[in-house]
C-alpha cells in the first residue's frame, strides 16, 4: 500500500512537471526524450478544447490524471513556499478571471515564493505563479501575457496530451522514471531545488506556440496592449545575456521555441492585431501593477539577491532601474549583490558603497542600507565609519532584531 502511495506520489511529480510551462536547461537525455515525444506529437489526434466547468469522463485516463494532480494540489495548498497574502492573491486571481472568462471558476491560482521567472499550469486547472515572475514583469499587461499563456495550455489540454504522448511512446514506467530523473528528489514541493537542478520539463514547440497565440488573443480581448507580450521575451533574453556564463538563466529559455523566435512571432501577431482592429484598447496598467507588488517588492528583491547569482542579479536590477520604479531601493539591493560577492578583482566594495550612496541620495531605501554599509566599512577596517553607519541603522530601526549584536560591533570603536 505504501509502495503504491509512493508510486502515485512519483506520478504526481511527473504530472506536475509535465504541466509546467517551461523548462530549464534540460539534460541531454531529457532533450532526447523531448525530441522523440515531439516527433510523436505530429501523429497525435487533436484533443478538443475543455469546456467551462467540464471535468473528464470518470472512466478516462484524463480523469486518473486529474485525480493524481488533485492530490498534488492538496500539497501545494500547504506548501511552505506559498504566498498567502490575500491582496496579492486577489489581484492575480482577478487578472486570471478576466482572461479566462467562463473558465474562471475552473482555475485555481497559487503564488509560490520561488525567485525564478516561471508559472505553471497543471491539467486540472492548478496554476502556480512563481514570485520571480512578479519581480520581473514591468506591468500588468506583461503579467497577463504569461497568465494568458498558461490559460491557453489549460484550454487546449496540453497537459493530458503530453502525458499521453510520453506514455504511448515510452510506456508508463518509463514515464515514471523520467519524472524521477527530472526531479532528482522525492519531494514534489521542493520546486526551488527542482529549478536549481534544471529538471523542469517543457511542452513542445507547437504547444508553446499555440499557448502564446491564445495568450495574446486573451490579453488583447481583455484590453491589454498586445505589444507587451513580445517585451516579456525581450526582457528574458536580455537577462540571459547579462547573466553571461552562469547556468541559471530563465526557465523560459529552454522551451522549445527559441525565445527570439517567440518574441518575433508575438511581435508579428501583435502588429496584425493592432492593424486589423480599430477598437482594441491599449492598456498596460503599469501603475496598478506597481501598487499591487509594492508591499512585496523588497522581499522579492531580497530573495533574488540571496540566489547569489551575482551577474544575473546585477543585470536584472540594472534593467529594473531603467524601468524606473522605486529606484532608490534598487540601488540598495544592487549594492547588496556587490557586498555579498566581495570580489576584490571586481572592486565590489567600492561598487557597493557607490550603490548605497546612490540609494541614499534618491531615497526610498530600507534602513538595512546603513547596516550593510557598516558591515562593509568594518571589512575595510574603517571602524569609526562602520560605527557611524551602525548608529544610523539603529536610529532608523530602533526595534531592529539584531540591535544588541550591532551594539557589540559599535563598542570597540567607541572605546578606542
Amino acid at each position: 500500500m505504501r509502495i503504491a502511495r509512493n508510486f502515485s506520489g512519483l506520478l504526481i511529480c511527473c504530472l506536475v512537471l509535465a504541466g509546467c510551462k517551461t523548462g530549464e536547461l534540460v539534460t541531454d537525455s531529457q532533450t532526447a526524450l523531448a525530441d522523440k515525444s515531439e516527433s510523436t506529437a505530429s501523429q497525435r489526434t487533436t484533443t478538443p478544447d475543455i469546456a467551462a466547468g467540464q471535468r473528464p469522463d470518470p472512466s478516462s485516463d484524463e480523469a486518473g490524471l486529474w485525480l493524481m494532480v488533485d492530490r498534488s494540489e492538496a500539497r501545494t495548498k500547504t506548501s511552505g513556499d506559498r504566498i498567502r497574502d490575500p491582496a496579492l492573491n486577489a489581484y492575480v486571481r482577478q487578472i486570471v478571471c478576466d482572461l479566462a472568462g467562463p473558465h474562471c471558476g475552473d482555475i485555481r491560482v497559487y503564488i509560490a515564493r520561488v525567485p525564478h521567472f516561471n508559472a505553471t499550469m497543471s491539467p486540472n486547472g492548478m496554476m502556480v505563479v512563481w514570485s520571480g515572475l512578479l519581480l520581473r514583469v514591468r506591468n500588468e499587461a506583461q503579467l497577463a501575457t504569461v497568465l494568458g499563456h498558461e490559460i491557453g495550455h489549460y484550454l487546449r489540454r496540453h497537459g493530458v496530451e503530453r502525458f499521453r504522448r510520453i506514455r504511448d511512446t515510452y510506456g508508463f514506467l518509463a514515464f515514471m522514471s523520467m519524472g524521477m530523473a527530472m526531479v532528482g528528489i522525492p519531494l514534489i514541493t521542493d520546486i526551488a531545488a527542482i529549478a536549481a537542478q534544471g529538471g523542469l520539463s517543457s511542452y513542445n514547440r507547437s504547444d508553446e506556440t499555440e499557448a502564446d497565440a491564445i495568450g495574446l488573443t486573451k490579453i488583447s480581448e481583455a484590453g491589454y496592449h498586445p505589444g507587451e507580450a513580445a517585451l516579456v521575451w525581450d526582457n528574458v533574453i536580455k537577462e540571459h545575456e547579462v547573466s553571461g556564463e552562469e547556468k541559471q538563466f530563465s526557465l523560459f529559455l529552454s522551451s522549445h521555441p527559441r525565445p527570439e523566435d517567440r518574441r518575433e512571432e508575438l511581435t508579428n501577431r501583435a502588429e496584425n492585431i493592432l492593424r486589423d482592429t480599430t477598437t482594441v484598447k491599449l492598456d498596460r496598467h503599469t501603475e496598478r501593477y506597481r501598487a499591487a507588488i509594492a508591499p512585496w517588492r523588497q522581499r522579492l528583491l531580497r530573495d533574488e539577491v540571496r540566489r547569489h547569482q551575482y551577474k544575473r542579479s546585477i543585470g536584472l536590477i540594472d534593467m529594473l532601474i531603467e524601468d524606473g520604479f522605486r529606484v532608490g531601493e534598487l540601488h540598495y539591493f544592487k549594492g547588496e549583490v556587490h557586498r555579498l560577492r566581495d570580489d576584490t578583482k571586481l572592486d565590489d566594495r567600492a561598487a557597493a558603497l557607490r550603490e548605497y550612496d546612490k540609494a541614499a541620495e534618491i531615497g526610498g531605501y530600507p534602513p538595512e542600507l546603513h547596516k550593510s554599509r557598516g558591515l562593509l566599512k568594518l571589512r575595510m577596517n574603517d571602524r569609526p565609519g562602520a560605527a557611524a553607519s551602525f548608529r544610523q541603522y539603529l536610529d532608523r530601526r530602533p526595534d531592529a532584531p539584531d540591535r544588541n549584536y550591532i551594539l557589540s560591533l559599535i563598542k570597540p570603536a567607541s572605546g578606542s
Binding site: L25, T27, R75, T78, S79, G80, D81, R82, R113, G184, I185, L187, T189, D190, I191, A192, A193, A196, Q197, G198, K247, Q248, D303, R306, R307, H308, Q309, L340, D342, K371, L375, L378, R379, P401, D402, N404, Y405, I406, S408, L409
Partner: protein, 202 residues
C-alpha cells in the same frame, strides 16, 4: 491538526530513512565528534555516519530533531559541505554562499539564511543574534526560523565560533510544535559541555 498530520508523515519518512542509513548509538557519556570536539551527553542519541565534516545526530528521527555538528568549515566551503555542479543533484549547491575569512556573526547568519532559501526552505528569518562563548572560546549564537517543504514550521539554534579563519557550528533544529522545546534543555546541556580536542588545532 494539519501540523500533527505533517509530523505523522515526517515520522513515517524518518522511519523509512532510518531503515536505510547506518545509524549507530551514541551512549551517554563523553564522546568525540568529527575528530574536533568532545562533549558529554546525559542521554543516548542516534548518529548518522559523518560525511564531509558534517555529523548528524537525532533522537526520534531527522524529521523530528537534528543536531548537526558542522566543523572545520574553511573559506570557500558551504554549510551543506557539498561541492556544487552545473547539473544533476549537486546543482543546487552551485550558488550556495560560502564561508569567507573575516566573516562576523551577522555575516554568518546571512550566509545561513541564503543557504536555507536556496535549499527550498521558506520564510527563513534570524533572531536573537548575539555573542556567546562556544567551547570555551569567543563565539556566536542565533536562532533561525523557517518553514519546511511540507509547510511545517521549524526552529533552529546555531552555536558556533570562528578560530583561525575556520568556522565550527552546532545546529539544533526541530518542529516548533512540541519537539523544539521538548529537547531544548538536553541540547543546551550538551552544548555547554562542548570543548575542542587539543589536537584539533583550534
Amino acid at each position: 491538526m494539519k501540523s500533527f498530520r505533517n509530523i505523522a508523515i515526517t515520522i513515517t519518512l524518518a522511519a523509512m530513512l532510518s531503515a536505510c542509513a547506518q545509524i549507530t548509538l551514541v551512549k551517554p557519556g563523553v564522546t568525540t565528534v568529527n575528530d574536533t570536539l568532545t562533549l558529554n551527553t546525559l542521554e543516548p542519541w542516534n548518529k548518522f555516519p559523518p560525511k564531509n565534516g558534517l555529523e548528524i545526530w537525532t533522537v526520534d528521527g531527522p524529521g523530528l530533531q537534528t543536531l548537526r555538528f558542522n566543523t572545520k568549515i574553511k573559506a570557500g566551503e558551504n554549510i551543506a559541505r557539498q561541492e556544487g555542479s552545473d547539473s544533476g543533484p549537486n546543482a543546487k549547491y552551485k550558488d550556495m554562499p560560502t564561508f569567507k575569512k573575516g566573516m562576523n556573526a551577522l555575516e554568518v547568519s546571512e550566509m545561513f539564511v541564503a543557504s536555507y532559501q536556496q535549499l527550498g526552505l521558506a520564510g527563513v528569518a534570524v533572531s536573537n543574534l548575539r555573542n556567546e562563548a562556544f567551547a570555551g572560546r569567543d563565539g556566536f549564537y542565533f536562532e533561525i526560523d523557517f518553514t519546511d517543504k511540507e509547510g511545517l514550521d521549524r526552529r533552529g539554534v546555531v552555536h558556533g565560533t570562528v578560530v583561525d579563519d575556520v568556522m565550527h557550528a552546532i545546529i539544533y533544529s526541530a518542529p516548533k510544535l512540541h519537539y523544539f522545546n521538548r529537547d531544548r534543555q538536553r541540547v543546551d546541556r550538551l552544548i555547554k559541555s562542548v570543548r575542542f580536542l587539543s589536537a584539533a588545532g583550534a
